[in-house]
Point group: C2
Chain length 200, copies 2
């Protein structure tokens, strides 16, 4: 699922690109929202600052991610956006975007559907973080992401990405997968994990 799939040709045509250096600010809390940003390259972090300027990270957006969707419906940003590395973003200007969404209910429904799917995915990730055992976290991931027959999971990124998604250290994930394979619970394939038998 791509977060920007629902964008129409009209909206895409209004987009502009911007490059940022590491540490450069994309927007500041209190400023008027410019539109929807999609990360093309690099990473952007959304942060709120405490009184001493210490950052609390709200989101770390990677290529393909959209950030600050809620600002579309707000008159001011509620956080700062800062490039965590050299980065390129695409801006879908707010006025063009809102005009299109209001003009085209089908587009707005597609936007809502994308947000609803994201809500579900994020809730599921949060529930997974309530699981303490690394193996049970991996099992949760496999069950949720298995194909219709429950026999295999296609990995979308690297194992390092998966470790981050699961909130595990890389080493812990490698160790857990190796132990599960040794026990005959899974089999590692190229870009996928086959589920041989379920946990008992």
């Amino acid at each position: 699922m791509h977060q920007i799939d629902w964008i129409s040709a009209n909206i895409a045509a209004s987009a502009t690109q911007r490059s940022l250096k590491a540490g450069q600010s994309l927007f500041r809390a209190g400023a008027r929202p410019a539109g929807l940003y999609e990360v093309v390259q690099g990473k952007i972090r959304l942060v709120r600052l405490d009184r001493s300027g210490r950052e609390a990270v709200l989101q770390l957006a990677a290529p393909g991610d959209v950030l600050a969707e809620a600002s579309l419906f707000s008159s001011a940003y509620h956080c700062d956006a800062i490039a965590s590395s050299e980065a390129t973003v695409r801006l879908y200007p707010k006025s063009a975007l809102l005009a299109e969404l209001e003009r085209d209910p089908k587009l707005l429904l597609a936007f809502s559907a994308m947000l609803a799917r994201q809500v579900m995915t994020l809730r599921t990730r949060l529930e997974r973080r309530n699981i303490h055992s690394a193996r049970d976290r991996v099992r949760h991931y496999l069950t949720v992401n298995a194909d219709a027959k429950g026999r295999s999971v296609t990995l979308r990124g690297t194992l390092k990405d998966l470790a981050a998604e699961l909130g595990l250290a890389h080493e812990a994930l490698y160790r857990t997968l190796a132990a599960m394979a040794a026990d005959g619970e899974i089999e590692r394939g190229k870009g996928q994990i086959r589920i041989l038998r379920s946990a008992v």
Copy 2:
């Protein structure tokens, strides 16, 4: 923020209530979505089952929560919903809801805005779970939820609710708050936490 604030009088009028016993199923994966459910009382869990019938929890919905928003845009449920306790739910029927949303762009925009805010909140909670130290997790929560001046946070539920939101054992949260108060970093008030000085 209430997840159901955007519901119009028309949609509210079409709602029906249903009571479930603990363990009773509200819907099953593969079934046609009936509409949007709001939990009125008790808890409903959304689960996906592995091949041996072991549950992976996708969402644990409490009173005020809406569940399976994505099913509004889908022809079949992708998970089971089961009452975790005696529960009452309110159903906003899908056909009436979608008809209203397509008829009224303002309502659909309000629905999208609610989903976008939820996406942001959930992303922030997930980022918080990447923080290992209990004290830094509490600080992250305080920074994100502080009033405009960064001086106090109003608690929405009990400390037990807060512990669950932070992914901490109750004892760990109590201990951490007590240590922060002893160090002069915060002051506990009735239903709120005052931030005396920021972390260094």
